[in-house]
């Protein structure tokens, strides 16, 4: 989420003619939420909603709302069937991805991978799979493992989801960690027969490099059985479908001061569209003066102005960093309503 926030704060600084400077630091989703609750920050941003235990500590006193949609792609390094040679990308399912990271599928020529890729079956090498994951705690890992937990029951029972999980592939197979999205992206490029998960932007910027050594996977949406390529349209389709499912299940759109964990759960593995996606959230206090912030009136006015801009102008294609997906208008509206709840 950091590249998008940096870009917004830069553009906003320009459109306000240098009057308003938003200082955003990428310190990690967990730290962002924790420091926001400790009132060390004026606002927090996170790739996951406020965790339930922490939400309960401050329930009703703060609002959270999505500002952008991100997606996660699976990149692989398989020189034998690189896109540049075969013109094809691999097909994967939540089950196969889970089994690779669980260390159950150990080789690329495993019949379960072959079955998904009839056109490439004879080219899949009998080499051990190096499963690359994040070595630092991250929102990317949280969204990725939440997807696997939702889509493949055994994953939920043995591993679960969070900023950091215990990857069974580390013990049973050739699991390996790398620091940051850029570290995973680099490790996959450097390691033959590896697979890794990264935010969309880290693949799209290096698309040509990946095509030379491997590529990016089509992921099957288990709900409608179709394979989706991680395009902006497919991710947006997934987000709309996930939100629709939430509204149907709970009877209403999520409220800004509610617990958003159920929303992120419904959004993951949606009924149709590309299935690995997540909202990025912003946290604001409802009453800055009562929370003990100094000069609350000015602060609130600035915060409101910035996020109103983010939810309207900021969602226009020119202001969205490549790889992120703008919010559907009805979701942006939730954010605008949230701003109304913040006391001036």
């Amino acid at each position: 989420m950091a590249p998008q926030m940096f870009s917004w704060s830069r553009t906003f600084h320009r459109v306000t003619e240098g009057k308003i400077q938003v200082n955003y630091q990428s310190i990690g989703s967990g730290a962002g939420a924790a420091q926001f609750l400790e009132k060390k920050l004026d606002f927090g941003a996170s790739d996951v909603p406020m965790p339930r235990a922490r939400y309960e500590q401050a329930a009703g006193r703060f609002v959270q709302f999505p500002v952008i949609i991100g997606s996660i792609v699976l990149v692989y390094n398989l020189p034998e069937l690189a896109y540049s040679k075969t013109g094809k990308y691999l097909n994967l399912t939540s089950e196969v991805i889970s089994l690779i990271y669980m260390g159950e599928i150990k080789q690329w020529c495993d019949p379960r991978i072959k079955a998904l890729n009839p056109g490439l079956a004879d080219k899949l090498p009998c080499k051990e799979i190096v499963a690359v994951h994040r070595s630092d705690g991250s929102g990317t890992t949280a969204a990725f493992t939440l997807y696997l937990s939702r889509a493949y029951q055994p994953w939920n029972q043995t591993v679960g989801w969070g900023f950091t999980v215990n990857w069974p592939a580390d013990e049973k197979a050739k699991g390996m960690g790398a620091k940051g999205n850029e570290g995973v992206a680099q490790a996959v490029l450097q390691t033959p027969h590896s697979i890794g998960y990264v935010e969309f932007a880290y693949w799209s910027k290096n698309k040509d490099k990946y095509d030379k050594v491997g590529g990016v996977a089509f992921v099957r949406n288990d709900n409608d059985g179709k394979y989706y390529f991680p395009t902006a349209e497919n991710v947006a389709m997934g987000a709309a479908a996930g939100l629709e499912r939430y509204t149907k299940k709970y009877g209403a759109k999520p409220a800004p001061d509610a617990d958003w964990n159920p929303v992120s759960i419904e959004l993951s593995n949606p009924p149709r569209g590309y299935p690995i996606l997540a909202f990025t959230y912003v946290f604001l206090w409802k009453d800055y003066a009562a929370e003990g912030y100094g000069d609350a009136a000015t602060k609130v006015a600035l915060l409101k102005e910035f996020f109103r801009w983010v939810l309207t102008e900021g969602q226009k294609p020119a202001n969205v960093v490549e790889g992120f997906i703008p919010l559907p208008p009805e979701v942006a509206k939730i954010g605008l309503e949230a701003l109304e709840l913040v006391k001036p």
Binding site: V130, G137, G162, D170, K174, G175, K179, Q186, A187, Q190
Partner: protein, 312 residues
């Protein structure tokens, strides 16, 4: 806690500084010495206090078990300790010969004009930000080592032993390059301090240049030992560069240096930012810090013992 520590330490610091500058030099120096000991003691105590929740829950298991499963709030840091020991061992084994070589080269082989330039260049590498070393390890050293090790292993055992560029071995080699200038600087100074009459006596005995270098190194062995422990300390504590190339494998106990692993300091660096989202992760990381501190103190105790027993 931190604020309290700061005040506790600031007062003796000011008293010591006052004594040093205005009252009596010797008293002030003594007080500063005592202050350093107090800081180390207080730091260790703080680590223990911060780590106490998990020690209370799991007992010593947190130091003796291998696991890192935040979802189940289950932590153990033994794999990180072995990772620290293995990477430091590789680093020291490679760095000490290099450091000795640099020291002798600068003092004996290079023409006098070049000594200063070469010496400054070596010192300069010590000032490079470690993240630069990390990036170099990520893009250049890791892939190169993988190719080189596998080339050798294919002819020896017929198979690739290093399946990824980022392993404990990569971290060890990178550390070796990073710590060599530290060890070299200390050894070089000691080597240059060998008295002229001793040097003349060595040559008068008919020693060759190589033999002379060996005898002079023996003469400077306390400096070599000092350089050794300085470099070891750097290797054990290095964080950022190691975190980038060590392979970040938290949950497997391995003694094979060609596998990916983790060290205590890189574990802390990698996991701390999101640790607050979990109940016991912060205490577990402090338990790691406590273990590293105690291990470091133990090594230094051994060092002091060796130096005192082997007084020249």
């Amino acid at each position: 806690m931190l604020g309290f520590l700061l005040i506790v330490l600031l007062i003796p610091y000011l008293i010591a500084a006052y004594a040093l500058l205005l009252v009596k030099l010797k008293w002030g120096l003594k007080q500063f010495g005592a202050l350093i000991v107090a800081i180390i003691g207080l730091l260790t105590a703080m680590f223990f206090v911060e780590a106490y929740p998990i020690i209370e829950r799991d007992g010593l298991a947190v130091f003796l078990e291998v696991r890192w499963d935040p979802v189940r709030e289950s932590y153990g840091v033994l794999q990180a300790l072995t990772g620290t020991i293995l990477t430091s061992a590789v680093a020291i084994a490679l760095a000490m010969p290099m450091a000795l070589g640099v020291a002798v080269t600068i003092n004996e082989i290079l023409p006098a004009r070049l000594r200063g330039i070469f010496g400054s260049l070596v010192d300069l590498t010590a000032t490079m930000p470690t993240v630069i070393f990390g990036l170099w390890g990520l893009f250049v050293l890791g892939p190169f080592l993988q190719d080189a090790v596998n080339f050798v292993s294919r002819s020896l055992v017929g198979d690739d032993v290093m399946t990824s560029p980022y392993t404990l071995f990569t971290a060890g080699v990178l550390l070796a390059i990073m710590i060599t200038p530290y060890a070299a600087a200390v050894i070089r100074e000691g080597y240059a301090l060998v008295p002229k009459p001793v040097e003349e006596a060595i040559y008068a005995m008919g020693a060759t240049k190589f033999e002379a270098a060996l005898i002079k190194l023996r003469y400077a062995r306390n400096y070599i030992l000092g350089g050794f422990f300085l470099a070891l300390g750097r290797a054990m504590g290095e964080t950022v560069a190691v975190a980038m190339v060590v392979g970040g494998n938290f949950s497997r106990f391995t003694t094979n240096i060609f596998e990916s692993g983790i060290t205590i300091s890189s574990l802390i660096a990698l996991q701390f930012p999101n640790a607050a989202a979990y109940q016991y992760m912060v205490p577990a990381l402090f338990a790691g810090a406590l273990l590293l501190t105690l291990f470091g103190l133990a090594i230094n105790a051994v060092a002091i013992y060796i130096i005192q027993r082997g007084q020249i």
